[in-house]
C-alpha cells in the first residue's frame, strides 16, 4: 500500500519540516494541558500522524527521490536545509513507529510510574525528544545537528529523572547521563567548530565538497573528526563510553527505556554513518584508520565485554542495557569493515535490534507493572503467571540470540557473511562467541522463568496475573515483527534488506550487487 498517494500535496513538499515542527509545537501545547488523558490522546495522535507521514515520505522517497528542502526558502550554503534520503528515511520511520508503539503501552504504564501532576509535562518532554531525534536525522546542517541533539538529550535527561517516583536511583542516573551527555555534546560541537574553521561552511553537502577538494584537509579537520567520533561515540554508547547507559536504561520509566533503547543510540549511529561516509570519506587515510582500528576494534571488544557484563547482572533491565552495548558493537563492526555489504548488514541490524530491544523492554516493563519485579531471581514461574508477556519476551530473546527464523538471525548471518567476505573471517568467530554469551544471558532469564515454580505468597502460589491488553499488543507487535522479518512473512525481510542495501549503496556511492529483493 503506497501511503504517499493519499497524502496531501503540501505534506510531500513540506514533509521534512512538518516532521520536526509538529512535535515541537505540540510539545509546547501539551505541557500546559490539565488532564493526563487529554495529554495522552494528543501525544498518541501526534505520533500516529508522524508515523503516517514518515511512512508516506519514505515511500515517496523510494518511488521518486526527494529534493533538498530549504527552510524559509533560503538556498543551502547560507540557509538551513533538510533532506530525506535512502539513509534517513528508514530511521525516520523507525523513530516515529517506536514512538507510537511505546505510546500505546504508555497509557497504563504512566499511571503506575509517573505522579499525576507530572504526567502532562512527561508527555511534552517525550514529544520534544521525538522532535529532537527526528530533527537530528533529517537536517542537512551540521550545527543544527548539535541543536537537535541537545533538544533530544535534554528532554531525555528529564524523562529519565521522572523515573524517580518509581526508583530514586533514577535521579543519580539522570545526573550521570546529563554530565556525560553534555561532555559528549561539547566534544561534538567542538568538532563542528573545527570543521567550520577548516571549511567555512556548516552545510553538510558543502563541507563534503570542500573536504574532498582539500583531500581530507589539514590537521584541523583531523582533530575535528576525532572530537566528532568521541562525541558521537558517547551518544551511541560505544564500548568504553557506555557507562551512562545501564543506569539510564534501568531506572528510567519503562516506556522511556523501550523508546530510548530502540531509537536514541540508533539516531546517534545514523549520525556516525552520516559524518563518516558523507562529510568525511573513508578515502581519507585518517578516516580509514579510525574505521579499521578504532570503530572495528572497539566494536569487537564491546561485543565481548558488554555481553560478559550482561551475564553477571542481577537486574534484568541492566542486563538488557549491557546487551544493547554489545549489540552496538555488532553495528560498529559492520561499519568498521566499511564494505557495502557490511554497512548494509550493520544498518539491517540497527533496525532489527531496535525492534527486538523495544519488545524486550516493553515485556520487562509489563512485568514490573504487574509484580514490581526487575531482578532476574524474581522471575520465577513467570511463564505461568504471565504466559503471554513471557511468550513475547521469549520470542524477542530468541531473536536477540539469533536463533534461526528470527530477525536477529537474518542480520547476524548477513554480518558474518560480510565480515568473511571483507577478509575478516576471524571476526566471524567473535560474532559466534558473543552469540553464545547472548545464549547465556537470555537463557538465564528463561531458565528461571520456565523451570522454577512461581513464588508463594502467604503459603499459596502466586496466581496468574497477565499484563493489560494495551501492553500486550505493542510487545507482541514487536515479537511478531521480529519473527516476520526472520521468516520473510509479507516480504518483511525483503523490505528491510532492500532498504538497508539502498542505504548502504548510498553511503559507499556504489550500486549494490544484486539489488532487487
Amino acid at each position: 500500500m503506497d501511503l504517499s498517494l493519499y497524502m496531501p500535496e503540501w505534506l510531500v513538499t513540506h514533509g521534512p519540516a512538518f516532521l520536526i515542527v509538529l512535535p515541537l509545537l505540540m510539545a509546547a501545547i501539551t505541557a500546559v494541558f490539565p488532564g493526563r488523558k487529554l495529554a495522552w490522546w494528543t501525544t498518541t495522535f501526534v505520533t500516529l500522524i508522524l508515523v503516517l507521514s514518515a511512512v508516506a515520505l519514505a515511500q515517496f522517497e523510494l518511488a521518486n527521490g526527494m529534493d533538498v528542502y530549504q527552510m524559509g526558502g533560503w538556498a543551502p550554503p547560507h540557509g538551513i536545509s533538510l533532506k530525506i534520503d535512502a539513509l534517513s528515511a528508514p530511521v525516520l520511520v523507525l523513530i516515529s513507529a517506536m514512538a507510537l508503539v511505546t505510546m500505546i503501552y504508555a497509557m497504563p504504564a504512566t499511571l503506575a510510574e509517573i505522579e499525576p501532576k507530572k504526567r502532562a509535562p512527561y508527555y511534552a518532554a517525550f514529544l520534544l525528544c521525538i522532535a529532537g531525534l527526528l530533527g537530528m536525522v533529517v537536517t542537512e546542517d551540521a550545527f543544527n545537528v548539535f541543536v537537535f541533539l541537545e533538544v533530544s538529550s535534554i528532554s531525555t535527561y528529564v524523562l529519565v529523572a521522572l523515573g524517580s517516583s518509581r526508583d530514586r536511583r533514577a535521579l543519580v542516573s539522570a545526573y550521570n547521563y546529563l554530565i556525560l551527555g553534555s561532555i559528549g555534546a561539547t566534544f561534538f560541537v567542538i568538532g563542528i567548530g573545527f570543521l567550520y574553521m577548516e571549511t567555512g561552511t556548516l552545510n553538510m553537502a558543502d563541507m563534503a565538497r570542500i573536504l574532498t577538494e582539500l583531500n581530507g584537509g589539514s590537521r584541523v579537520s583531523m582533530v575535528a573528526f576525532g572530537f566528532i567520533i568521541v562525541g558521537l561515540g558517547l551518544k551511541l554508547a560505544m564500548f568504553p563510553l557506555h557507562t551512562w547507559l545501564p543506569g539510564a536504561y534501568a531506572y528510567a520509566p519503562t516506556q522511556v527505556t523501550a523508546f530510548l533503547a530502540s531509537t536514541a543510540t540508533k539516531a546517534a549511529l545514523y549520525l556516525l554513518l552520516r559524518f563518516t561516509f558523507f562529510i568525511f570519506s573513508p578515502d581519507f587515510a585518517y578516516v580509514d584508520a579510525v574505521l579499521v582500528f578504532l570503530i572495528f576494534g572497539l566494536g569487537i571488544v564491546g561485543m565481548i565485554f558488554a555481553s560478559l557484563q550482561a551475564i553477571f547482572q542481577t537486574d534484568a533491565r541492566r542486563m538488557l542495557a549491557y546487551s544493547s552495548v554489545g549489540q552496538v558493537g555488532y553495528m560498529l563492526l559492520g561499519i568498521g569493515i566499511a564494505t557495502t555489504a557490511s554497512l548494509s548488514a550493520a544498518y539491517l541490524h540497527l533496525i532489527n535490534h531496535a525492534v527486538i530491544k523495544g519488545g524486550l523492554f516493553l515485556a520487562l516493563g509489563a512485568m514490573w507493572y504487574r509484580f514490581g519485579i526487575t531482578r532476574v531471581d524474581d522471575f520465577r514461574g513467570l511463564s505461568k503467571t504471565m504466559p503471554w508477556t513471557m511468550g513475547a519476551f521469549t520470542l524477542c530473546g530468541f531473536s536477540l540470540i539469533g536463533v534461526p527464523f528470527t530477525a536477529g538471525f537474518v542480520s547476524k548471518v548477513a554480518l558474518a557473511q560480510s565480515a568473511a567476505a571483507g577478509g575478516y573471517w576471524w571476526a566471524v568467530g567473535f560474532i559466534m562467541v558473543s552469540s553464545i554469551l547472548a545464549v547465556i544471558y537470555v537463557g538465564r532469564v528463561l531458565m528461571v522463568a520456565y523451570f522454577r515454580s512461581p513464588p508463594e505468597i502467604d503459603g499459596k502460589p502466586c496466581v496468574k496475573n497477565e499484563a493489560p491488553l494495551r501492553m500486550l499488543v505493542p510487545m507482541w507487535a514487536m515479537a511478531l515483527l521480529s519473527i516476520a522479518v526472520g521468516m520473510n512473512i509479507f516480504g518483511a525481510s525483503d523490505i528491510l534488506v532492500g532498504a538497508s542495501e539502498r542505504a548502504a549503496s548510498l553511503l559507499t556511492g556504489t550500486t549494490f550487487p544484486g539489488t532487487g529483493g
Binding site: 556525560l180 563510553l241 557507562t243 578504532l294 557473511q417 567476505a421 545464549v439
Partner: protein
C-alpha cells in the same frame, strides 16, 4: 494440503514429542504417550521406506529462504541407513522405557529421536545445523532427569553441544561463502578454514580426543533410560556428518586411531560401569572415524555397517547395565557381582552384547569391524592397524570381560533382586536377536550388506584366516585375564572418581576463574580506595582553591567515565595521527 511425501519424516516424531509434552499430566495418560513412543518411529521408518522406494536419490522439500536454498529432505544411500537405524533405535528405546511414567523423558526422547532422524535426512548445512542444535537442546533433559548430581553435568553438556552447533554454523557459512553461496551438504574437505571449523564441530559431537569429555561426564549421570537413549543418537549423527563431509581425509585416520586407544586405559580403571561403557563407546567411535579417514568403498561400507550394529549392541550393553541399576540402584563395579543368580536372562543378553562388541564370530561386530581393519591393511596403514588391533584387545578387556564379569560373576555381592522388568527384557532380546541375525553366516549379514551404500564386491567375513586369527586374539585375551586374575595381578575395583582431561575445566579452570574473580574484587577495592583517596586529595585542593562553601567538590560526578572519554579521545587522535597519515 500437506503432502506426506514432501516432509522430512523426522518432523513427525518431533510432532509426536510436542504432543506428548503438551498432553495433560494426569494418571493413565502415560499409556497414550507410550503409544506415541512406539508408533512414531515405526511410522517414520515406514515413510522413509516409501520414499526410498520411489527413487534411490530422493530429494524433496526444497525451500528458498532469503536467497539460501534449503533442501530439507534428502534420502540417498548414506542417509537411508541412518534413517532406518535411528527409527529402529527409537523403537527399541521406546520399548525399554515402557515402565517409566515420566512425561519429560518421553517427550524429550521423541523430540531428540526426531531431530536426529530429521538431521541425517537434511540435505543442506543450515537444516543440519538446526537439527544439530535441537538434538542438543532436547536431549539435555534426559541428562537432567538423572537427578541432582546430573545438573552441572547437564549444563556442561548443553554448553559444549550448543558451542559445537555454533561452530558448525560458522563453518557452514564460511564454506558456503567459498563455494559462492551453495549450502548443499556434501563433501567439504579441509581446504577452507570453514571446513576445519565444521570438522571440529563434528569432532566435539563424536568425541575426538580431548573434545570427548562431555560424553563420559554426562552419559553416566543421566537417568537409566536416558543413558540408553543418549547413547543411540548424538554421536552417530556426528559420524554421519563426518562420513558425508570428510570421507578420506587423512588426518581422521590418526585421530580415529588415537581415539580407539586412549579410552582403553580409562575404562580399565573406571569403577562406574556406565562410565566404562561411555569410554567404550568413545573407543568404538574411533574405529568409525578411522574408517572414514581411510575412505573408499570397503572402509566406508564397514563404517556404515559398524554404525548400524554398534547402535544395537552398545544399546544392549547400556540396557543390561541399566536393568541392573534399575534393580540394585547402582552401576558401580565395586558394589555389584554375582548377579547372574538373580538376573540370569539379563546376564545372557549382556554376554551377547559383550561378545558382539568384542567381535566374536557369529556376533555382530565380527563382520563390520573386520571390514575397517581389512581396509587399513589393504592401504598398508600398519601403525593405525596395530593401534586398532591393540584397541580390539582393549575392547575385549573393558566391554567383553570387565562389564559382564564384575556385574554378573566375580564375587557374590549378596544382592538378591528380581529379574529385569518384562519390557526391558523384550527390548534387550530384540537387540540381542539382531546382534545374532546381522552376523549370521548363512544369509544374515547379507541383510546388512543390502543396506550398504557403496558399490563393491561383497566382503566375505567367514573365511578361515579371519575366524581363526580373530579367535586367537580373543582366546589370548581371555587367557591373559584368567592368568592375571589367578596370580592376583588384576586390580580389584575400587570406588573413586577418575579424573580425565575435563579436570582442566572442571577443576583447574574453575579455580582459576574463582581466583581471578577474588583477585579482581580485591583489585577493585584497592583501586577504589586509591582513587577515592587521590580524588579526595584533588577535591580538597579544589575545595581550598575554588569553593570555600565546599559544595562543588562533593557533587563531582563519577570521574571514571570522564577519564574514559578523555582517554578515548587521546587514542582516537593517536590513531588519526599515527596510523592515518
Amino acid at each position: 494440503m500437506i503432502d506426506l511425501m514432501n516432509i522430512n519424516p523426522g518432523l513427525w516424531i518431533i510432532l509426536a514429542g510436542l504432543i506428548c509434552a503438551l498432553f495433560p499430566k494426569t494418571d493413565g495418560t502415560h499409556y497414550i504417550r507410550k503409544v506415541f513412543l512406539i508408533a512414531a518411529p515405526i511410522f517414520a521408518g515406514w515413510l522413509i521406506f516409501q520414499m526410498h522406494s520411489v527413487e534411490p536419490e530422493y530429494i524433496r522439500g526444497v525451500l528458498n529462504f532469503g536467497g539460501i536454498e534449503l533442501t530439507t529432505l534428502r534420502i540417498d544411500g548414506l542417509s537411508l541407513v541412518w534413517g532406518y537405524l535411528f527409527c529402529l533405535a527409537g523403537l527399541i528405546n521406546g520399548i525399554y522405557g515402557l515402565h517409566e511414567k515420566c512425561r519429560i523423558t518421553d517427550s524429550s526422547a521423541l523430540i531428540y529421536t526426531g531431530a536426529a532422524v530429521a538431521g541425517v535426512l537434511a540435505g543442506d548445512m543450515i537444516t543440519l545445523f538446526i537439527f544439530w542444535e535441537l538434538t542438543a537442546i532436547s536431549s539435555v533433559f534426559l541428562v537432567w532427569k538423572g537427578g541432582e548430581h546430573a545438573y552441572a553435568a547437564g549444563l556442561r553438556y548443553l554448553a559444549i553441544h550448543v558451542f559445537s552447533g555454533v561452530l558448525l554454523l560458522a563453518g557452514a557459512v564460511m564454506v558456503a561463502q567459498s563455494r559462492g553461496g551453495d549450502f548443499t551438504f556434501n563433501f567439504i574437505g579441509l581446504n577452507t578454514p570453514g571446513g576445519w571449523l565444521m570438522m571440529i564441530a563434528m569432532g566435539i559431537k563424536c568425541g575426538f580426543p580431548l573434545l570427548h569429555n562431555w560424553m563420559q561426564d554426562a552419559y553416566p549421570k543421566a537417568s537409566i533410560t536416558g543413558t540408553v537413549i543418549l547413547a543411540s543418537f548424538t554421536t552417530k549423527f556426528a559420524i554421519y556428518a563426518l562420513a558425508r563431509g570428510f570421507e578420506g581425509v587423512d588426518i581422521l585416520i590418526w585421530i580415529g586411531a588415537i581415539m580407539t586407544c586412549f579410552p582403553v586405559f580409562f575404562a580399565v580403571v573406571e569403577n562406574d560401569l556406565r562410565r566404562v561403557l561411555a569410554y567404550s563407546l568413545n573407543n568404538q567411535l574411533g574405529f568409525m572415524v578411522c574408517g572414514i579417514g581411510i575412505g573408499g568403498a570397503l572402509a566406508m561400507n564397514g563404517v556404515v555397517g559398524q554404525v548400524f550394529v554398534h547402535v544395537i549392541f552398545k544399546g544392549l550393553l547400556f540396557m543390561s547395565i541399566g536393568a541392573v541399576m534399575y534393580r540394585t540402584g547402582t552401576a558401580k563395579a565395586s558394589e555389584l557381582g554375582g548377579l547372574f543368580r538373580s538376573m540370569p536372562f539379563t546376564a545372557v543378553l549382556c554376554l551377547i552384547g559383550a561378545g558382539s562388541i568384542a567381535a566374536f564370530p557369529l556376533l555382530a561386530a565380527f563382520v563390520t569391524k573386520a571390514m575397517i581393519l581389512a581396509a587399513a591393511l589393504e592401504e598398508h596403514l600398519w601403525v593405525p592397524f596395530a593401534m586398532m588391533l591393540f584397541a580390539s584387545a582393549g575392547v575385549m578387556e573393558h566391554s567383553g570381560i570387565k562389564v559382564p564379569h564384575f556385574t554378573f560373576f566375580a564375587h557374590d555381592s549378596g544382592r538378591r533382586v528380581k529379574e529385569a522388568p518384562w519390557n526391558m527384557l523384550v527390548a534387550m532380546s530384540l537387540a540381542g536377536l539382531l546382534c545374532i541375525v546381522l552376523a549370521w553366516p548363512w544369509g544374515g549379514y547379507e541383510l546388512l550388506y543390502s543396506l550398504m551404500p557403496f558399490e563393491m564386491e561383497a566382503y566375505k567375513p567367514y573365511t578361515w584366516d579371519h575366524v581363526v586369527f580373530q579367535l586367537q586374539l580373543l582366546f589370548a585375551a581371555i587367557f591373559a585375564f584368567t592368568l592375571l586374575k589367578r596370580f592376583g595381578v588384576y586390580p580389584a575395583e575400587r570406588r573413586a572418581e577418575i579424573i580425565d582431561s575435563d579436570w582442566l575445566y572442571r577443576r583447574l579452570g574453575l579455580n582459576v576463574a574463582l581466583w581471578t574473580s577474588a583477585m579482581w574484587d580485591r583489585l577493585n577495592f584497592q583501586v577504589n580506595r586509591l582513587t577515592k583517596r587521590s580524588l579526595g586529595q584533588v577535591g580538597q585542593k579544589l575545595y581550598q582553591m575554588f569553593s570555600p562553601a565546599g559544595t562543588m567538590s562533593e557533587a563531582a560526578p563519577s570521574g571514571l567515565p570522564a577519564v574514559l572519554v578523555a582517554g578515548t579521545l587521546l587514542v582516537t587522535l593517536i590513531v588519526i595521527y599515527v596510523l592515518g597519515t
